[in-house]
Symmetry: D2
Subunit: 473 residues, 4 copies
Amino acid sequence: MVKELFDKLHEECAVFGIYGNSEAAKMTYLGLYALQHRGQEGSGIVSSDGAKFHTEKGIGLVADIFTQDRLKKLPGSMAIGHNRYSTFGENTLKNVQPLIVNYARGTLALAHNGNLTNANMLRDELEAYGAIFQSSSDSEVIIHLIAHSKGDSLVDRITEALGRVRGAYSLLFLSEEGLIGVRDSYGVRPLVLGKLKESYVLASETSAFDLIEAEYIREIAPGEIVVINEKGVTSYTPFQKTPHAFCIFEHVYFAKPDSFIFGENVYAVRKRLGVELAREAPVEADVVIPVPDSGTSAALGYASGSGIPYEYGLIRNHYVGRTFIEPEQTIRHFGVKIKLNTVKEVLKGKRVIVIDDSLVRGTTSMKIVKMIRAAGAKEIHMRISSPMILSPCFYGINTPTKEELIASNHTVEDIRKFITADSLAYLSMDGLLRSAKSADPKEFCTACFTGTYPIPFPDRYRDQLFLFETKPN
Amino acid sequence: MVKELFDKLHEECAVFGIYGNSEAAKMTYLGLYALQHRGQEGSGIVSSDGAKFHTEKGIGLVADIFTQDRLKKLPGSMAIGHNRYSTFGENTLKNVQPLIVNYARGTLALAHNGNLTNANMLRDELEAYGAIFQSSSDSEVIIHLIAHSKGDSLVDRITEALGRVRGAYSLLFLSEEGLIGVRDSYGVRPLVLGKLKESYVLASETSAFDLIEAEYIREIAPGEIVVINEKGVTSYTPFQKTPHAFCIFEHVYFAKPDSFIFGENVYAVRKRLGVELAREAPVEADVVIPVPDSGTSAALGYASGSGIPYEYGLIRNHYVGRTFIEPEQTIRHFGVKIKLNTVKEVLKGKRVIVIDDSLVRGTTSMKIVKMIRAAGAKEIHMRISSPMILSPCFYGINTPTKEELIASNHTVEDIRKFITADSLAYLSMDGLLRSAKSADPKEFCTACFTGTYPIPFPDRYRDQLFLFETKPN
Amino acid sequence: MVKELFDKLHEECAVFGIYGNSEAAKMTYLGLYALQHRGQEGSGIVSSDGAKFHTEKGIGLVADIFTQDRLKKLPGSMAIGHNRYSTFGENTLKNVQPLIVNYARGTLALAHNGNLTNANMLRDELEAYGAIFQSSSDSEVIIHLIAHSKGDSLVDRITEALGRVRGAYSLLFLSEEGLIGVRDSYGVRPLVLGKLKESYVLASETSAFDLIEAEYIREIAPGEIVVINEKGVTSYTPFQKTPHAFCIFEHVYFAKPDSFIFGENVYAVRKRLGVELAREAPVEADVVIPVPDSGTSAALGYASGSGIPYEYGLIRNHYVGRTFIEPEQTIRHFGVKIKLNTVKEVLKGKRVIVIDDSLVRGTTSMKIVKMIRAAGAKEIHMRISSPMILSPCFYGINTPTKEELIASNHTVEDIRKFITADSLAYLSMDGLLRSAKSADPKEFCTACFTGTYPIPFPDRYRDQLFLFETKPN
Amino acid sequence: MVKELFDKLHEECAVFGIYGNSEAAKMTYLGLYALQHRGQEGSGIVSSDGAKFHTEKGIGLVADIFTQDRLKKLPGSMAIGHNRYSTFGENTLKNVQPLIVNYARGTLALAHNGNLTNANMLRDELEAYGAIFQSSSDSEVIIHLIAHSKGDSLVDRITEALGRVRGAYSLLFLSEEGLIGVRDSYGVRPLVLGKLKESYVLASETSAFDLIEAEYIREIAPGEIVVINEKGVTSYTPFQKTPHAFCIFEHVYFAKPDSFIFGENVYAVRKRLGVELAREAPVEADVVIPVPDSGTSAALGYASGSGIPYEYGLIRNHYVGRTFIEPEQTIRHFGVKIKLNTVKEVLKGKRVIVIDDSLVRGTTSMKIVKMIRAAGAKEIHMRISSPMILSPCFYGINTPTKEELIASNHTVEDIRKFITADSLAYLSMDGLLRSAKSADPKEFCTACFTGTYPIPFPDRYRDQLFLFETKPN
């Protein structure tokens, strides 16, 4: 509920862009494919030869949306693409990015990963001046601010527009003048630069580079604007400096294990979280099993840290579709059963440590514990490789509201009872920060675990935020 | 090429049936969902109240084919369903099972897992008598033989018809008289019986029971016919006894790890294969990694058997779709890259043991070895948790022809060179049979590894078979 | 109800075939397009180069079904096509023709215009011998009879098969050996032969020739089989001679006015029906208006015969679609209103003669009379340019059952009251036969107007037929 | 070419709106159905209960777009709808109206029939102030002008916005406050008001009222705004008075014959055009035939005026679809042949007068003359029931550019030769104006026949207009 004050849509997303490649749209398709885990609701690609712009968008998975025929309708040597997570009913296609508009200065396409915290306020203001919005997406505010800007160059106009927005953003623009990448001054979301022969690529994660065999160059720095055109890569840093606030949840859950994020490999960090967890919260047991695949890396770390054998006690169904039709006469919700099944031989009569990366509402963990119990486990010890999630994210991770976050208003013991485990432990905040070694602890955003939001809120919303709090952070 | 003498379509499939359930079609949908790994090309369900029969079929995945609307068109308290593997171009829908026909004695629907070896001969004969075939599926031969039979009861007619076919089959029939399950006298393909409250269920694997929370009762015995109707389950054993020939490849690769097959849990067998492999083919190394997910269970066994740390060096992309569009200017085929990516931190500078369940053509293994090498591995030791595949399967596993099976005409050293590994070893035949403990070694079909086919071939085809052989079996 | 004894599907249809044209499928598409008025439920084309056969079928209109892509999938220099009228719920695609089967002698495709009267009896018999039917179409019986025939040549087998069927048929076959056309010995349905450069064409009506600019050669004679292959056109007359029974309803309603049928132009016949009707049933009035477009030609004849001005008092909506959604709170059924609207200026205060070609159930005529009355007409005189329809057609026109045919159990005065007209008159039987000049009156089938069926019924059905009669014919 | 200076899209369209009906969307669907002849490219409906707004749009025909399911998604007691004519490639759905936007004052939907002549100029200006356009439709300019207006009430804002636009418009708005209808001060396009029980309806033509059985009340006056809400119908006339300019081409061709337009029935006017034409351009002949259906009413008038028999020499194919695939090896374009076929019996050896309503490019007339000649006509006399079309329409009729209008740069004799007729005559301007009796000749817009445009053009475009003229108007 609190969240609705700040945003219309939580944008947990992926962006990808390329300049100077004769197969720009196809490379973007591949990049989005490799970044599918960051957003599965819909995808879009805008391509251009610098004069004409072409758009293809759809609801669903990248591989289903982009057929050979649709890719053929995307000529040109530069392109940007976007995978989207959130869904808002029937009109979703309108909200699928990239957004593309014609305005007085030409054509502009935008792909946005992140979330603005003053979008509604800006939108109200823009509408008061007669602006007409096409979508309910935060990102459209940026476009309107650019259209209203009197700045001479596009970089000037982007700078002026972004000077007005608050929140987290890694942005890609495509215009007649080339490809532009921007990362907010806090650096909340990742954005990396690579090179594929003569072309430059920008992406949310390095796993997109691996698929197209591009070489990783560097991260886009917090507060940096890069303009990529026929002159190569030009860097601007027009924004005021702020502290860094790298989203630590990218390491905990969101990024792909094979990616290199904020200077470190995600799998390595996650495994260390498990080792750390074994040290902080040991328990005597017969087997360590992961909740696949979210807990897999940490479980392996826990097993190696504790010396308890690692086993597969839960098997994932690889063909889980979007829709699933349940029988009517069922008592239990099928939610977890269609994704996971137990291996009775592994669990029967055993003391089982179950590792997952996080615990949000608690209902899924409860179902998993019950499944394992039904398979004959003697004891079930749940271990979570991150701290308690106390507060919602306003910077682009789709967490539920405070009321729905079980840890925001329950003790560990309450939660243990709720999920029916024999014991439950979370990784400590220190343990988490120790494991993510590449940056100084102060450089991470830990708002979801601590309630300390690094980016200031606009005043008029701040009051309302605390109004809805059920306990102080 | 040889294979085409025997069959039109290799049917690597799943079957599911239920009797006496008010949500029969929905339960069948769930059962097929849980058996999706046995066939992803298309699925169908036939339901009935004993008078009218209803059919819905489609190309693709169960969850995509069956919408709420389509399931509503499947009323009745009994149903059978089928997942299909093979695909033969544009007319596939015609070949999606269950087959359903009206003949002189009423309506009959059929779902078939397995493969006949004398289908073409029987088809020629039936056509000579004026029969008109709808599909190119082997299974239709069974239907025509039943329609031509003069037997009094349906069980008589089924018995007479199956008396004429050769090959492997686990069959489900739906007729006005109820649900019928049949397993060939060799027991090549699995077929299990379960109970869900008052209703009986038949399925290819127990994982289908777990999802709908049905209780496992027993396997249908080789050569058994079970008729399920308002009188309960009636068992018939009208066929001549033959030796058993349980497909050992179900344990090696095909069945789901959480299933219980031929009297044993699949995951447990696979892990033992890895332990056995560590004993037979040890090598000094830093890490053991699986090819996910086919090699996962065996890799864990190898790691525990060898004491070498288990790691994830290859990360699977969970969103791999049916179609994938490659860039044109690429040198290397993307085949493996879109499914797997390396974790460089795990592999760099390491001596790596890679475990997979089998090695068919060798091309995939080669690509994997090259990916791991490119990620910086110092040594790469490929270990396969089954013996060399020498001969094609004629009983329902979709293996390529002899010429394409790299092991049928190359030595281990040849293959090692081809896949560019530093060493390569296969599990021995003895090791394999030792690991599958639930049955006597003689009770397994090992034709793909040995070339010894347990089910006699019709003479006229036998000669042709050897004609095409490139070396004696 | 009576009708169900004789047939499953009333096939009011069009057939088209071509041999020796490099664009055979496209020409067939055009031919079906020109014959769309004979069937709008679904269409199909089978093409061949003599070796491989290709099929495309769909539900709906020719122009919607056949895209450029689908036509490209129909290579080969010979083809047959079919438009279908009747619809039987969800499974219609199975019943869309051409039927195509593989049997012992090769491939055979069939397109059928007409209706068999002993199909059910033959089907029962064939099923007793083990035959399995794919569809509920009468026409499939012909295919099975051919498959069971031991005749040497295809013509022999067709002759043997057709020797067993009773009813009306104009048939096209496509086989490896070429294109074959057959017309039953009564000649109930039309079938014409044309020539387009080097290729030969067969069609239900000459309007198909006009569109593709083929030249009309002649009608296929009743009882004639023509085989068209690389040797040209070979004619066979193997059937026993019978009296002719040309369907006079083709002239009254079914054929297109620009076609040349049974030796005469349809528009010319229809206009004469109007002139004749003006002579037989004159009335003082201010205007003559047609029910568009069925009564248009006859109305013009009536106006010229009577000297009363011809006007358009009813305007047809050209965009009437298949589906139409009515408001719920409406009292009157919209059926006619969505197709026709009145021109008040033409009707207000006038004595109006309304001409239609036939009157089946009376409900449409009633709605038209009421619309005209509501538009201010002073008197409304309905004139029908054919006699009363007393009996259903069993030879391929989709008439309703006897009970639904208002004229089968009501007097003219009863019907006049029902449709609320000030007067009503039908053309006499003599008047009808006088107008269709090209054949001797005895050569026409007039069963729908007289109840005298020219083709004998199988005995076992005949009794049942009379059982259901509400009055003797 | 000239036209592109003035507009992006020529909007030859239909609008329909209803207020106070529990089946508002369904009634709108019916209204659009009855107005399908005014636009077949796409349709949309917006409905509302005064709070939420619902939109459904599609490409194609009304009956194909709106299924029962889609109509259910359109609740509320008020609605507006639109049929669209023009098509601009792949992005058409964006241009399908009603347009619907959220702006500072709430929600506003717009359906527009007509065409603006200063849309591009206004668009440039609005974009310079930062406005972002969604579509390439003229109509969006109106929405943006309203969004920028500071007027207190919606009527004030609409008045201010329309004060800036030039051109022809009959508009419907749907807002939280009710249904609003506007007709420009020239009254170029029709707009009529009706009543259906307690609800009010607005439509382009009265034929929409007939279908839903609404009662015709009156035309909306030129320059009138009507607001329909819970207080009933309130009329405003805020615009400066101008001369009237009723589009005479609505009577000649565009409106449906059963409609009542500008105070008169269309069929009656068209028939008088034929009578007048018979007087002005008589010729000795055997038959008068219409080009169906455009020339039908006038042909009947010509026949009655001349005493020469009226016949159907051209038969229309009622199943002409959107797409049509031609054979490749054809010499002649099939364009006309798929729509019309000749009746040889009517034409052979005859002197034929052919009547059509207008002659635009001449190519269709040429093909028709050639078809009639090929059918054996001895003489062919083309008569056109309107004057020569000299100039393009800028007010909403989709005429081609001046260069393509054959009459703008050829004499009657030139055109006669081009269409290969034996004689050709047009109706005179006086004859046309005499036939449309309901208004004073000066009250009609005759720009397409005279080049005299009644609505002043913005100066900067006027010069460019004359620049492109090939001869002075």
